[in-house]
């Protein structure tokens, strides 16, 4: 330091000897977690790949530092090759040989690698950074934050003069990890019938193992109807050598079953990766009609210190198509209770009302449909049929009506077992008393395509021949004993 006077040509007054700033007790620079970036090449759980560890230090660095990296205990590390850039780099080559680093598996608080760094100009100075490419680390075995990577930078080989350090290090966040895959997901009901409560066999193959006390979450196909939330369902492992121990599943939302303690606790068998899991779920109702029940999703979780962490998941777009049921006969099948009654069973009559009676085996939803197909000898007159009978009470889409079929749109839900009566008008009765072919009835879901029940299969016969409109007879000779010629006309 020098002091000057204020003359035009300033003259020195005092000059000090050099004085030093004593930084002996200065603290090292603290680095933050966000100063470190950790980028595995493969982010799927349990995957071994090359990782890049990048750290930027907010202060300049000069030559000859030592960098110590602590890596988390929960990550498997099998280093075959490490290349370094920036302050990790001790020499001109990027390749680090083992003599340029020290590996300490027993270091505290976690295993460490120490590098003799800062020996290249590139990357140090004002904005120093360090980048390590390490082959290989293995990602965590579940969707869970990894432990911390921490970096400490020292001035001296004895690692006593700390320059910068991380209190809280970088990590692989659970949100960055990708679960493994659950493959070969299938579901098949024991009873294929629509709306039937039955057991469903579920199978799948998880890519990774999970703990004995882990859990499985199954999002059932949306078409299936599960018991209310919090109810429990019976789980029955399938096959003799099945390692599953769980016997109960819990409904945790409208379509999700959760099975805990899959292989235990206390299981003497450990699940292997890619081991097929098969079990029955009892008490789930099949979809309402013959459309596909929909996709399903299976997620597996492992349990660590009382917390569940996702391991694998997989889903399907489709599952299975249920089979249509059979319409039920009516209870009273005689007299007025007969399934098919023609009010005026006269051949050729066009004024009769045909009444079809049956019971639905399964529920028909409001805005569902009922289709009636007539045998060939019974002819609908669509316009007349749609303007009378049950069409008048419900509705009959005009576009679906033909001379042999009519479709009814059900206004309100019809319960399973409920007797249904349909009146048809505008029918031209058969021309003879010969028994007709059978009527066929199909009930449909709201999409007018997916069947619920099929059947009916009833026929009838006209019992009264129609009257002739005109009948006359003439004779050529009115004398007894003569040969005569009679002429009849109608």
């Amino acid at each position: 330091m020098v002091t000057y006077d204020a003359e035009k040509s300033p003259k020195r007054i005092d000059a000090s000897e050099s004085a030093a700033l004593d930084a002996t007790n200065f603290k090292a620079t603290r680095l933050f977690a966000e100063d470190m970036k950790i980028q595995p090449q493969n982010l799927e759980i349990g995957a071994s790949s090359q990782w890049t560890i990048f750290i930027k230090v907010p202060i300049p660095m000069e030559l000859g530092c030592y960098v110590k990296v602590f890596y988390p205990k929960d990550l498997e590390f099998d280093f075959q090759q490490i290349t370094a850039q920036g302050f990790f780099k001790p020499k001109r080559s990027d390749q680090l040989t083992r003599d340029l680093m020290e590996y300490n598996a027993l270091d505290s608080p976690s295993p460490s690698l120490t590098f003799k760094g800062c020996n290249q100009f590139n990357g140090i100075g004002l904005e120093p950074y360090g980048r390590l490419l390490v082959s290989y680390f293995t990602t965590p075995g579940q969707i869970k934050d990894s432990g911390d990577f921490k970096v400490f930078i020292y001035k001296d080989e004895a690692l006593t003069q700390l320059i910068a350090y991380q209190e809280k290090g970088g990590k692989i966040m659970a949100t960055d990890l990708q679960p493994g895959t659950v493959s070969d997901i299938t579901i098949s009901p024991t009873n294929m019938g629509v709306q039937e409560v039955t057991s469903h066999k579920i199978t799948f193959v998880p890519a990774h193992s999970f703990s004995d006390d882990g859990k499985i979450r199954i999002k059932m196909p949306e078409g299936l109807l599960l018991p209310p939330i919090n109810k429990q369902l019976k789980i029955e492992p399938y096959g003799e050598n099945n390692k599953m121990k769980a016997t109960v599943g819990t409904i945790i939302s409208s379509s999700v079953i959760e099975i805990q303690d899959v292989f235990g606790p206390g299981s003497d068998k450990t699940m292997e990766p890619e081991e097929k899991i098969e079990f029955f779920v009892h008490g789930v109702r099949n979809q309402p009609s013959t459309k596909d029940a929909g996709g399903m999703k299976v997620t597996t979780f492992t349990k660590i210190n009382g917390e569940f962490y996702e391991v694998d998941n997989g889903e399907t777009k489709k599952s299975f198509i249920a089979e249509a049921g059979e319409l039920l006969p009516i209870a009273d099948a005689d007299g007025d209770g007969k399934p098919l009654i023609v009010s005026d069973p006269v051949t050729f009559s066009k004024t009769a009302t045909w009444t079809l009676r049956f019971r639905a085996a399964h529920r028909i939803p409001g805005t569902g449909y009922i289709k009636v197909e007539a045998p060939p000898e019974v002819v609908f007159s669509p316009d007349s049929t749609m303007s009378g009978g049950t069409c008048n009470q419900w509705s009959c889409p005009k576009e679906d009506a033909t001379s042999t079929q009519i479709v009814f749109r059900v206004p309100n839900e019809l319960a399973a077992g409920q007797e249904i009566k349909i009146d048809l008008t505008g029918i031209e009765n058969p021309r003879t008393t010969k028994p007709t072919g059978t009527f066929k009835i199909t009930t449909y879901d709201t999409d007018k395509t997916s069947e619920i029940d099929i059947g009916y299969d009833q026929n009838t016969a006209m019992t009264i021949p129609g009257e002739l409109g005109q009948f006359s007879a003439t004779q050529s000779n009115v004398t007894n004993g003569d040969i005569n010629k009679y002429e009849f006309s109608m």
Partner: protein, 126 residues
């Protein structure tokens, strides 16, 4: 008669009479609020009429091959102040902070410790 050629040397302020500290005690700290605090006792006296210049040379912050920087920013203008004087300008150039002052308080002319504080100092990294 030719006058003798007299070469007058500045008086030396011994190192013990100069103290250097900083407001932050963290290695490498470089935020704008970090303040260099220099205390010194003039060996003789400050400039007559209470007006003069003080130069403070700072060392390199880092020096790596041709890349180097001083511990005080060349961009830090008028960041110095002192209770003993009115500092009307301070500016760094090539590692020297040049402070021009006036209105030096009479009590600070001599035999009194003068404290100058300059913001935007870069702490040492080692």
């Amino acid at each position: 008669m030719q006058l003798p050629d007299l070469t007058i040397q500045p008086a030396v302020i011994p190192a013990v009479n100069v103290q250097v500290t900083t407001s932050s005690k963290t290695l490498g700290y470089q935020e704008n609020n970090n303040t260099l605090i220099i205390s010194f006792m003039p060996a003789t006296t400050m400039a007559l009429r209470g007006k003069g210049t003080i130069e403070i040379a700072v060392p390199y912050w880092y020096s790596v091959n041709t890349a180097r920087a001083f511990m005080y920013s060349d961009l830090a203008n008028n960041k110095c102040k002192s209770d003993c004087m009115t500092i009307h300008s301070s500016k760094a150039f090539m590692g020297t902070i040049r402070i021009t002052y006036q209105d030096m308080k009479s009590k600070c002319f001599k035999k009194t410790k003068i404290v100058i504080k300059c913001q935007q100092f870069y702490n040492p990294i080692y």
